[in-house]
C-alpha cells in the first residue's frame, strides 16, 4: 500500500507540489521568523557580551517605570568613589551610553530611520571592548570615533568632521578612529565615542553616569565582588555581574522585539489557515476523482483502514515536502525580511543566519500537522467508497448532504466566534491574550461562513456571472455554470481568498481611520501652524531649539512638549509637560472639567489629567494623584482640571509644567515643538526662516507645517500598511494557488467535455476565455465576500474605539481597486490552467475514459 501511495504521489508530482505550496508559504514564514529572531537575538547577545569584555561587575540605575524609548535613568557620579573603596575592586570607571544623533559635517544624518544612534564615553584601557581597525582612541575633547560600519555607510574617513547632537546644539568633532566591536554587527545602529566629560556634557549628564564598569582583582569572583559592591551603593542602583548584565539586556531586547515575532507568527498562521482550505479542497477533489480507484482497491481486498492510511500517508508526505521546502524558503525569507526591515529604516543587527534545531522541528510539526488535519475529512470520505464504485461509470460519493449537521456546526462556530470577539472587546483585554482570543474568534466566524458558503455560491455566481455572461456570451455562461457545478469546491476556493481579503480590507479601513483620526487631531488640537519634531519623528531634541524659534520674526508663541512614562497611583501611563504660559496658544484642550485658565495657571505640583486616567484611578479635580518617576521617586500632584483625551494622545494622560518634568522626572529634551505664528504672516516665508534658524545648530530638528505633519504621519501609517500588505500577500498567493489547483483538477475532470466542445467548434481562445471567466467569478466571489467581512469586522471592532476619538473611514476607492486587482489576480491564476485546457488534444480528450 505504501509504495502505491508513493507511486500515486509521484505520478501526480506537479499537482502534489502545488498542493504543498499551501503549506510552503506559511511554514516559510514560521521558519523565517525563527531564523530572523534567533539571528537577531544572537547578534544582540554577542554585542552585549563583547561590549563587557574586561568588565566583571556593572552598576546601573534601576528603571521603575519603563520609558517608551527604552532609556534607563542615569545616576549621580559620586557613588564611584564608594565603589572604588570596595575591597577587591581593581579598577572602576563611570561611563555614558546615551542616544543622540551622529551627523556628517553637512548636517546630514549618518544613520537612518528607526535605528538608534548612540553617544558613549571612552574609559580606561582595561574596559576597552572595541578594536581600532583605523586610527585610535580620542585623546582630546574635540575628537571622536565612529563605528566602522556607520563610517562606511556615510562615506566618512579619519580626519573628517562629524557632528554630535545630544541635549544641546550640534557640535563638531574630528574623527580620529574607527571602531569595531569583535565580530558584532550593529545593524542600522551606530555609535560614536568621545571623552567621558565631553559625553556627559553632550548628553546633559554632567555629574552623572549611565553605568559604572568594575574590574575585579585577580582571585575575586565577579559574584563575590557584586555582593560587596551592592552593600555600598544606594538603593535605586542595580549591581550585576557582567554576565548577568549582558543576559538582562539581551532578554530586554528580546522582549521588546517579541511583538515582531508575534506579528510574523500571526501572519504565518493566516497563511497556514488559508493553506488548510486549499489542502482540504485538493484532497476532496482528488478523492472524488479517484472513486473508481478506491472502489477497485476495495474489490481486491483493501480494508477501509488501508484506504484511510493511504490517503493520510499521501497528505503526510505532501506536508513533509511542503514543510521542508518551506524551511528552505524561510531561510531565504529571513534574509528578505531583514531587508524589508532595513528598507523601512529598522535594520536589525545580524551576523550569519542562525538555524536552531527547534526551528526545523517546530516547522515540520506545524506543516505536517496542518496538512494532515486539513485532509482528515476527505480521507474519511475516501473510506466510504463501496467496492461497486470500481464498476460503475459515474458515481456520486457521500450522497447524504447533512444540511442540519452543517447548519448546526456553522451556527455554533459563528456564535462562539462572535462571543469571543465581543467579550474581548468589552472586557478590553489587550496584549497577547486579547489578540489571541480575537484571532480565535475571527477564525471561528470565518469557518462558520465557509461552511455556509456553498449555499451562497450559486446566487453569488449568478449575480457576479451576469455581466460576464453579457460580455462573454456562451463562454461566460459555461464559466458561470461550471463555477456553480460543485458549489462546495468553489466555496472553499473563494473562502480561502476571502480570508486574505477580509484582512486586507480590515487593515485598509483601520489605517485610513487612523490617518483621518490623526488629521482630525492635528486640525482640532493644534492651532499652531508649525510643528517641530526630532529625527525619525520620535527622538527628542534640545529644548534650545524652541527658544531659538521664539526669536524668529513672525512667531507668536512656541512651546516644547516632553513626555515621561510614570505610574499614576500605580497605573502606568504617559504624561506630557508644556510651558504653561504659551500652551493654550499652541494647543487646544477640550475640557471635561476646568478651563484654559487652569492650564495657564499650572504651577509646580499641579496636573491636568486625561479623562480615561481620571476614570481608571478615580481621581478628579481637587484630588491628589501620586506620580512615580522612572527612578522610583514619588511625588504628589494636585489635579486642577480634567481634559478629554484623543486616541493619538498628543497630551498623554496628564499635563504638568516643564519645570516639574525636568526636576521630578529628569526629562530635559523636547519630543515635539508647537509653534504659532503671528496672524497675517506668510506661512512659507516664516517656515523657511525657522528652518534657517535651526539648520546649523539643530540639524536634526524637522520643521513641518500642518500639511507636512499630516503627510508624514500618513506616510508612517502607510509604511506599516505596506508591510502588512506584503505579509498578507503570502496568504493571498496561497489562495490564488488554490484557484490554480482547483481549476487544473476541474479541467482534468472535464477533459472529455472540453474535447467535445473543441470538436463541435470551440476555438482555443474560447476555451481559454471560459477558464479565465471561471477563475474571475471565483476570485470575485472571494473578493466581495472578503471585503464585506472585512468591513463588518472593522465596523464591529471600531465601535469601542470610537469613544477615544477614533473614527473609522471607509476608503471606497481603495477597496474598489482591491476588488479589481483581485479579479485580475483571478485572470493571472487562470493563465496556466487555461493554457492547459486549450492545449488538450481533442483526440485524446474525446477518446479519454
Amino acid at each position: 500500500m505504501f509504495s502505491l501511495t508513493f507511486k500515486n504521489l509521484w505520478a501526480r508530482k506537479w499537482r502534489s507540489l502545488m498542493t504543498a505550496v499551501a503549506v510552503i508559504f506559511g511554514i516559510a514564514l514560521v521558519a523565517g521568523t525563527y531564523v530572523l529572531t534567533d539571528t537577531t537575538n544572537q547578534a544582540f547577545d554577542q554585542i552585549f557580551n563583547e561590549s563587557l569584555a574586561g568588565t566583571d561587575v556593572v552598576v546601573t540605575a534601576k528603571s521603575e517605570v519603563d520609558q517608551q524609548d527604552g532609556s534607563t535613568p542615569s545616576f549621580a557620579s559620586g557613588v564611584l568613589k564608594e565603589v572604588r573603596q570596595v575591597d577587591g575592586v581593581e579598577q572602576a570607571a563611570g561611563a555614558i551610553f546615551s542616544t543622540g544623533a551622529i551627523l556628517d559635517d553637512e548636517g546630514e544624518s549618518t544613520g537612518g530611520g528607526f535605528s538608534p544612534q548612540f553617544i558613549s564615553s571612552t574609559g580606561p584601557e582595561i574596559f576597552e571592548a572595541v578594536d581600532y581597525p583605523e586610527g585610535g582612541r580620542p585623546t582630546k575633547p574635540g575628537e571622536a570615533t565612529l563605528d566602522e560600519a556607520a563610517a562606511d555607510r556615510a562615506g566618512i574617513e579619519i580626519g573628517d568632521t562629524i557632528q554630535l547632537v545630544g541635549i544641546g546644539r550640534a557640535e563638531p568633532f574630528r574623527l580620529v578612529g574607527l571602531t569595531r566591536l569583535g565580530g558584532s554587527s550593529f545593524g542600522g545602529s551606530s555609535i560614536s565615542q568621545v571623552l567621558l566629560p565631553v559625553a556627559q556634557k553632550l548628553t546633559g549628564k554632567e555629574g552623572q553616569f549611565d553605568q559604572i564598569s568594575i574590574a575585579a582583582d585577580s582571585g575575586v569572583s565577579p559574584e563575590e565582588l557584586r555582593d560587596r559592591v551592592s552593600e555600598v551603593v544606594p538603593a535605586g542602583l542595580r549591581v550585576e555581574t557582567a554576565q548577568e548584565n549582558a543576559d538582562r539586556n539581551a532578554s530586554e531586547i528580546r522582549d521588546s522585539l517579541s511583538f515582531l515575532t508575534i506579528a510574523l507568527f500571526a501572519f504565518a498562521a493566516i497563511a497556514l489557515f488559508v493553506g488548510s482550505f486549499v489542502i482540504f479542497n485538493v484532497f476532496s477533489i482528488t478523492v472524488a476523482q479517484r472513486t473508481r480507484e478506491f472502489g477497485m482497491l476495495r474489490t481486491i481486498g483493501a480494508s477501509r483502514r488501508q484506504i484511510l492510511r493511504s490517503v493520510l500517508i499521501e497528505s503526510f508526505l505532501i506536508g513533509l515536502i511542503g514543510s521542508l521546502i518551506g524551511i528552505l524558503v524561510g531561510y531565504g525569507l529571513a534574509a528578505g525580511l531583514s531587508q524589508i526591515l532595513k528598507a523601512v529604516g529598522a535594520e536589525l543587527p545580524a551576523n550569519s543566519l542562525v538555524v536552531l534545531p527547534r526551528t526545523i522541528i517546530v516547522s515540520l510539526l506545524i506543516g505536517v500537522g496542518v496538512t494532515m488535519i486539513s485532509s482528515v475529512i476527505p480521507a474519511i470520505r475516501s473510506t466510504r467508497v463501496p467496492p461497486i464504485a470500481a464498476l460503475s461509470e459515474y458515481i456520486v460519493v457521500g450522497g447524504k448532504n447533512r444540511v442540519v449537521v452543517r447548519t448546526v456546526i456553522a451556527v455554533l462556530l459563528g456564535t462562539i466566534g462572535l462571543f469571543l470577539i465581543a467579550s474581548t472587546l468589552i472586557s478590553g483585554t489587550d496584549g497577547g491574550s486579547g489578540a489571541a482570543s480575537i484571532g480565535g474568534g475571527a477564525i471561528c466566524v470565518l469557518l462558520a461562513i465557509s461552511i455556509f458558503a456553498p449555499k451562497l455560491v450559486k446566487p453569488a455566481a449568478s449575480v457576479i456571472g451576469a455581466p460576464i455572461e453579457k460580455i462573454g456570451g456562451l463562454t461566460g455562461r459555461l464559466a458561470r455554470e461550471n463555477s456553480q457545478r460543485n458549489p462546495g469546491r468553489t466555496a472553499i476556493t473563494a473562502a480561502a481568498l476571502m480570508i486574505g481579503l477580509a484582512l486586507i480590507a480590515f487593515v485598509t479601513i483601520f489605517a485610513s481611520g487612523l490617518s483621518s483620526s490623526v488629521n482630525k487631531v492635528v486640525d482640532d488640537s493644534l492651532p499652531g501652524e508649525i510643528t517641530l519634531q526630532g529625527p525619525g519623528g520620535f527622538q527628542p531634541f534640545s529644548p534650545l531649539a524652541v527658544q531659538e524659534v521664539r526669536q524668529v520674526e513672525g512667531v507668536e508663541a512656541a512651546s516644547g512638549v516632553r513626555y515621561a512614562a510614570v505610574k499614576a497611583d500605580g497605573e502606568t501611563t504617559q504624561i506630557s509637560s508644556v510651558d504653561p504660559s504659551n500652551i493654550t496658544r499652541v494647543f487646544t484642550v477640550t475640557w471635561k472639567e476646568g478651563s484654559n485658565d487652569d492650564l495657564l495657571g499650572l504651577t509646580g505640583r499641579e496636573i491636568v489629567i486625561g479623562d480615561s486616567l481620571s476614570d481608571k484611578i478615580g481621581v478628579g479635580v481637587g484630588d491628589t494623584v501620586e506620580l512615580t518617576s522612572q527612578t522610583g521617586q514619588k511625588f504628589n500632584f494636585d489635579v486642577t482640571g480634567v481634559m478629554e483625551t484623543d486616541s493619538i494622545q498628543l497630551a498623554g494622560q496628564g499635563i504638568i509644567t516643564q519645570q516639574a518634568m525636568e526636576q521630578d522626572f529628569k526629562v530635559d529634551e523636547d519630543a515635539v515643538g508647537l509653534v504659532k505664528l503671528d496672524s497675517g504672516v506668510d506661512l512659507a516665508t516664516t517656515q523657511t526662516a525657522i528652518e534657517d534658524a535651526l539648520d546649523k545648530p539643530f540639524p536634526t530638528v524637522e520643521v513641518l507645517n500642518q500639511g507636512e505633519l499630516k503627510e508624514s504621519q500618513k506616510q508612517q501609517i502607510n509604511g506599516l500598511l505596506a508591510m502588512i500588505y506584503v505579509l498578507l500577500a503570502l496568504a493571498i498567493v496561497v489562495s490564488l494557488v488554490g484557484i490554480v489547483v482547483t481549476l487544473i483538477l476541474s479541467i482534468y475532470e472535464r477533459t472529455r467535455e472540453l474535447g467535445m466542445l473543441r470538436a463541435v467548434g470551440m476555438s482555443r481562445r474560447q476555451v481559454k476565455r471560459m477558464v479565465r471567466y471561471e477563475a474571475v467569478i471565483t476570485a470575485v466571489i472571494g473578493a466581495v465576500s472578503g471585503l464585506i467581512v472585512g468591513v463588518v469586522f472593522a465596523f464591529v471592532i471600531g465601535i469601542p474605539l470610537s469613544g477615544d476619538g477614533f473614527a473609522l473611514s471607509y476608503p471606497v476607492g481603495t477597496l474598489l481597486v482591491i476588488l479589481v486587482l483581485t479579479a485580475l489576480a483571478g485572470v493571472i491564476a487562470a493563465i496556466y490552467p487555461a493554457r492547459k485546457a486549450a492545449k488538450l488534444d481533442v483526440l485524446e480528450a474525446v477518446s479519454y475514459e
Binding site: 456570451g473 457545478r485 470538436a759 463541435v760 470551440m762 476555438s763 483526440l843 474525446v846
Partner: protein, 271 residues
C-alpha cells in the same frame, strides 16, 4: 481477445428488423465529386522496434449523401482512419480533402473553423454538457460559432430526434438513448458536410441503438446528410450504404453490406 468476444451479436429479432430496413431501396444515388477524399494515408506510431503502422497506405473516397460504416478488428486502424479524416489526428503521410478543402496542413485555428462549418460529431459517451439543457446542448455548436440558429431547421431537428417535449431537460434527466439522440441532433443542427460517428451505439441498449441508427439513416435518406461511422457492431454496420473494413492498417473490403450475419461472416474472414 478473440474477435468474436469483441462483438456483441444482436438478437435475431433485431437483425431481422434491420434487414427489413435495408430492403428499402432508399439510397440516393450521387456520383458527383466525393465530399471526403483520402489519398495515400499512412500513420505510424513510435519508432524502430516499437513502430506501429496504424494506417499503411489507405486510399478512400466518400460520396456525398452516403452512409458509410468502417469496421475492422481491434488495432486495424479504423479509429485512426476516422480521426484523421475528421482532422483530429494528422497522418504521417498522405492527404485528406473535405468538401474540396485540403485539411492535412491546417493549423488549430483553421481546424476549429473547419469543425464549425463542415463537421459534425457523435461520440460513444454522448459527451453532453451536464450544465446545459437538451436544447442548449443541441444549439451549442451554433452558440460557439456565434451563428444565428435557423429556428425552423432547429425545430425540425429536435422533432426528428423525438425530443420536442424534453427541450428544457438536463442530460442527467435523460436516458442514455435520449442523450445520444441529443448528441445526434447537435451534430445535425449545423448541416455539416460530414457527420462522423465514433461507436455511437457502443454504450446503448439495442432499442436505443436502433433509434440512433435510424436517425442517422433518416438524415442520409431525407436530407442527404453524409455519415461516416466507425463501429464494431455488425447490426450497426448493416445500417450503412457501404461497408469498408480495415486490417493491419490496410483497406481490405469495400462493398455494400448485405445483412448483419453477412457482416459477421466477413469479420470472421478478416480475423
Amino acid at each position: 481477445m478473440s474477435l468474436r468476444g469483441r462483438f456483441r451479436a444482436g438478437s435475431g429479432a433485431t437483425v431481422a428488423g434491420m434487414e427489413s430496413t435495408l430492403e428499402a431501396p432508399s439510397h440516393p444515388k450521387s456520383s458527383e465529386s466525393p465530399i471526403v477524399k483520402a489519398t495515400g494515408l499512412e500513420r505510424i506510431y513510435g519508432e524502430g522496434q516499437a513502430e506501429v503502422r496504424a494506417l499503411d497506405g489507405v486510399d478512400v473516397t466518400f460520396d456525398k449523401g452516403r452512409f458509410t460504416s468502417i469496421m475492422g478488428p481491434s488495432g486495424s486502424g479504423k479509429s485512426t482512419l476516422m480521426h484523421i479524416l475528421a482532422g483530429l489526428d494528422k497522418p504521417t503521410a498522405g492527404t485528406v480533402e473535405i468538401d474540396g478543402q485540403e485539411i492535412t496542413g491546417l493549423d488549430d485555428g483553421d481546424l476549429t473553423e473547419l469543425r464549425r462549418d463542415k463537421l459534425g460529431f457523435v461520440f460513444q459517451f454522448f459527451n453532453l454538457l451536464p450544465v446545459l439543457t437538451a436544447e442548449e446542448n443541441i444549439l451549442l455548436p451554433l452558440s460557439i460559432a456565434k451563428k444565428k440558429p435557423d429556428q425552423e431547421w432547429v425545430d425540425q431537428v429536435i422533432d426528428r430526434v423525438g425530443l420536442s417535449d424534453r427541450r428544457s431537460h438536463r442530460p442527467s434527466e435523460l436516458s442514455g438513448g435520449q442523450q445520444q439522440r441529443v448528441a445526434v441532433a447537435r451534430a445535425l443542427v449545423t448541416k455539416p458536410a460530414v457527420l462522423f460517428a465514433d461507436e455511437p451505439t457502443g454504450n446503448l441498449d439495442s432499442k436505443a441503438s436502433d433509434d440512433v441508427l435510424k436517425l442517422l439513416r433518416g438524415a442520409v435518406d431525407e436530407v442527404g446528410q453524409t455519415v461516416i461511422m466507425v463501429t464494431h457492431e455488425p447490426d450497426a454496420a448493416a445500417h450503412g450504404d457501404r461497408l469498408i473494413a480495415l486490417r493491419d492498417g490496410k483497406l481490405v473490403h469495400d462493398a455494400p453490406p448485405v445483412s448483419a450475419d453477412n457482416v459477421i461472416e466477413l469479420l470472421k474472414t478478416l480475423a
